[in-house]
Each structure stands twice: as C-alpha cells, then as structure tokens.
Subunit: 341 residues, 2 copies
C-alpha cells in the first residue's frame, strides 16, 4: 500500500483548495488574494515594481539533487532578489506551476511548503497563480510585486564616475556547489549504491540549492541612510552584471581581484576541481548577491560592514570595464553570462 | 541556403534586444518598462489587479495548427480577460517565454508580433519578462496588471437572489473549433498531401485560435452605468463558471436552455460531429466571454444589447444550480471543467 496520493485522485480543484487553505496574508496592501479572476492590491500612493522569472526542469534545476522544498523557496527568492535590486520592499507574488501526472500530492505540498516558507521569510503574500499539467518537466513561473516610495527606485543606470562598486556576501559559491552536485550525480549514476559525498561542502551546496535574496542588506542600507546610485542582483555572474551597470550608466569600472569576496569552502573546492576561483567569482552566477554603486562620500558607512565589500570604483566609459591585479595591471572584462540557446 | 536564422546565432542578449526595440509604452502609469531588474509602475491612488496564466505546448496549444502569432495574441488575451472579469482596465503585462533551440529568430519574432498586436489592441504595456530555453516544448507565462477605482472591483462573490445572469457573445464555438482543427490534424497525419478543410468553419476556428478579451463590453457597461454584482470570464465552460459564482456568492441559479447564445456555425458543426450543442455550450470552455450578474432593475439597459444575453436568474442557494428547458423542467448542473491530471 502506497503512502502517496496520486494527483489524479485529488483533481485540479482539490489541489487548488489544498494549496490555498494554508496561505496567510500579511500585507495591508493585499485587498483580495487567491480565489477570484485576479488579486486586488492597494499600493496607496506608492510606486510598485514588478519582476518575473521562469524556472524549467532540466534547464534551471535538476530534481535529482534539488529537493522540491528548496526549489519552491528558490523560485520565490530569485524573484524577491530582483525586487531587492530595485531598492523596493516585496509585497506580493503570483506562482504558476506546471507538473506532470507522475507527481504526487505530497510532492506538490513539499514544493508549496518551500514557497510558503519563502513568503514568510520575505513577508510577501501569495495572491495568485495557476496549477496546470505538463507533459514535459516541472515549470515554475513567479511574478513578484514590490512597493517603493516615489523616486526611491534604484536603476542600473545611475552609476557615476568615482562611485564605489560594492557587493554583498561572497561570490562563486553557488556555481561551485553546482559542480559538486553534478559530480555526485555522475557518481551516483555510475553506482546507485553510492552515498553523496557532501562532507565539507554544505555551505556551497546550500548556496546553490537555497539562495537568499539580500533584503537584509536593503533594510540595512536604509538604516545607514545610503541610497545606492545603481544596483543589480547577481544572477548571471559579477562580470555580466557589472557590464550591465556600466553600459546602462554610460561609465567604465575597475574592480580589484584581491578585493573580491570569496568563501574558503568555495576556494578549496575550486582547487579540487582545477578551476580558477576568479573565473568562478566573475562568471559563476546564481549567487543572488547585490552589486551596487554608492557615492565615495558613503565609504565610511560601509567600510566595516560585514556583509558589504567595496571591490572597485566607477571610471570614465573610455577606460572600459576592467579587472585589476595587485600590480595595477588591468584586464578588460568579458561577460559570459549563460548561453541559453 | 536557409532564409531562417537559428536562435544560437543571435544569443540571449541579441534576442532580448530584438524583442525590446519594437516595444511601445502607452500608459502613463508605466514609469520604467523592460531593461532593469524590475519594471516601475505608478498606479496613482488606484487599486491594481493582478492575474497570471501559463500556456504549455501539448497541453494548452498544438503548434501543428496554432500559428505562433495567434498563440502570442491568445496568451495576452486570456490574461486580459481575467482583468476584464474584475471590471478593471488592463495596463501592463509581463511575458516569460521558454523555447527550444530548434526555434528560429523568425519564429520568435512571429510570436512577439502577436503579443505586440494584443498589447496594441488592449492598450497594455509589455514591461518585463524573461526568455529562456526549454528542453521540452514552448511555454508562455503571462502576468497581467490592471487598474481600478477603489471599490469598483467586481468579485465572484457578489451575486444576489433575483439578479439576472448575463453572458456576452456566443458560447461553445471555441470548443467546436478545436474539434475541427483536431479532425484536420488527424487527416493530415494520415495523408500529408491533404489540405485542411476549413471552408465554412472560419468563425469557430478563429474563436479557438484567437479569442478576444471582452474589454469592449466592460467599457460599454460603464457607459450604461451598470456595475455587475458578480463577474467571471468563461475559460472552463459556462457550467463550471456559474457554479463558481454561485458557491462564492452563496446563491443558486437557473439558466434557460433556450436563452443560451450560440452561433449557427457552431450548431451546424455540432450536428456534423454528433455532439450535443448544449453540452458544448455548458462545458466547452475557452470562449473567454464574460458571465456576470446584474440587478433586475438594470434589465432594460441590457435587453436590446447585441453582445449581451440574459440567460437566467439567481435563486436561493437551496434551489441549486440548474439548467431549465422550455417546459420548465430543471436539471442540476455538474461542472466538468478540464481534468488536468
């Protein structure tokens, strides 16, 4: 006797009911959540920001090593990260999920448990969405909405010459975690009796499987009375994001190799995998840290902040976007990003 | 030499650029569209409504007979239809698209041409989205945002005893169009030299491939100074939607077989396919017409309206939800909806 319930037993309306009855609404701007043709929101006199992202099985995640609960959490976190990168406060999300008939009710509940946990942590309300079937893999599409005072939004285009370039947290770990997970998957496929070797890799694997949006830093910057001049979240890798800021702001930048924040587990694992840690940091992606620029005058406010590292400065556009070593030699950056097609 | 360009030649950033450079913004509430981590909107002191829907190849559409331009149009229209069903005015959409490497740049342009055309017709701004790869079929996820004055939203829960039950347009045609398209697909697969037989089926096939959101009726109801007491759009079939209104409003309803609006092409084709036209009307789905209730006192305002048909009335909950024939016999309705899993 199986302890799992096939989705077909519950049906679409049953599934919707199951998901909805556990939803809590936290924001006063949510007038009407799930249950009608659309949600009704009241942002008062604020501006709102809207961002959306879609994750597909086999492209953005691998269910062999990604637990559904983490996946649900991540799908919300990466969208909240975009709201953070606007300097806004996330308030609502909608979630569309497509899944195959082979999924059990328990699996869907696990996915939504992760979604709900992220909603709780980021204080956002799940106000809408669609659950449908997929003949292929699992697909999750999330749209996040946030609020912001008029004129408070931070775009990618506001960086000015002499601004400082800052990043939060450390970089490259999510990419390195993926390398570990893929190695263990290969080992498991060669020998299904093998247990995954994740000893000493928990941090980097966690960075890959369950990234956090840096809303904590957004709130702290407000407390420090710092308004970044430009900001972006690091989903495709530092190099690519820095080039977005520079091209949209019409400036150049120099970042310093020795200033790039890295975790020791990431560095050790890079050596183990024979990978250049700087390449992992610059092009790894999926760290969901924030890259932002601040006026030079704000240096004292951030210099001792444990979660913020000043990695370089904004220059004239004619200088280009460069990575400099400790001898002052600068090498032009190339954005690799992800080659989707 | 092929006249088509593979997506790989353009790359992700090239594709984004190609899509973005053709976008026009029309709404003053759109402060910043595509090009940053999130769009920035300013709904002034209005409430906003948000709705989202995802369409998957092989589940919601079949590219054998659905042109990409129509598909793009439909993906927007079905979301605008949800905004209409709230009595709101659509203002912005975001669109996530996942597609396989086999797609050409020309195919993607065709899809976005349909999306742009719908944006133009419904006066909405495309303000965000994501284009990514898919190992399976094409996936389109759209989120629509609309504006509405405080207290003007029409929910599913407002129907009152003695209200009139109204629908727009005619019903069952989209479902019948799908039957025709599937028959022609079977014939084509059996004999690829066959040309599809769509003579005399243009209306019903068009209803399936390119539905319209009834924003026209929303604007007309405002002009007639009618505020529906409850409203929903008909995506899953009249029976299912009527039962949503009744259960959420805590009422019953009786609709009359003889009052149900049907197009003659739909009726003829139903006979041809040996299908009961009433079943097609009640459970066919995908018509994207509006089902709404109005106070009895508004009857004179709608009775001669060419696009609105009064099909029944709201009763006490204890009477149930019924379909009545001309002899006054009433049969309880069963919502079939779509069995997704």
């Amino acid at each position: 006797m199986s302890e799992y319930t096939p989705l077909s037993e519950l049906g679409e309306f049953g599934l919707i009911k199951l998901i909805n009855e556990k939803i809590e609404l936290r924001n006063t701007s949510t007038i009407k959540g799930i249950g009608d043709d659309a949600a009704v929101l009241e942002p008062q006199s604020k501006q709102i920001v809207v961002s959306t992202d879609m994750l597909l099985e086999g492209v953005h995640f691998d269910l062999t090593f990604c637990p559904l609960k983490h996946l649900g959490y991540k799908a919300v976190a990466v969208n909240v990260s975009d709201i953070a990168a606007m300097n806004a406060t996330p308030t609502q999300i909608t979630v569309n999920v497509a899944l195959g008939a082979r999924y059990t009710v328990e699996a869907v509940e696990e996915l939504y448990e992760g979604i709900r946990l992220a909603c709780e942590n980021y204080k956002v309300d799940l106000v809408g969405g669609d659950t449908t079937s997929s003949h292929a893999g699992l697909v999750i599409s999330v749209t996040a909405i946030g609020e912001i005072g008029k004129g408070e939004a931070v775009l990618r285009s506001g960086a000015r010459v002499n601004d400082l370039v800052c990043v939060t947290g450390d970089l490259g770990a999510a990419y390195m975690g993926l390398q570990v997970l893929e190695r263990e998957k290969q080992a498991f496929m060669a020998n299904p009796d093998m247990q995954p070797e994740l000893e000493g890799k928990q941090y980097i694997v966690g960075r890959q499987l369950r990234p956090e949006a840096r809303m904590d830093v957004i709130y702290e910057l407000r407390e420090l009375d710092i308004k970044p001049t430009a900001m972006i979240d690091i989903s495709d890798g530092l190099a690519s994001e820095l080039m977005h800021i520079c091209s949209q702001s019409g400036v150049g930048a120099t970042v310093y190799k020795d200033n790039l924040p890295a975790d020791s587990q990431m560095l050790e694992t890079a050596v183990e995998f024979n990978l250049d840690p700087i390449t992992c940091i610059m092009n790894g992606g999926e760290d969901y840290e924030l890259l932002f620029t601040i006026p030079l005058a704000d240096y004292d406010k951030v210099k001792n902040h444990p979660d913020i590292t000043v990695i370089g400065n904004i220059t004239e556009a004619s200088s280009g976007v460069n990575l400099a070593n400790k001898h002052g030699q600068a090498f032009p950056l190339h954005a690799q990003g992800w080659k989707h097609f």
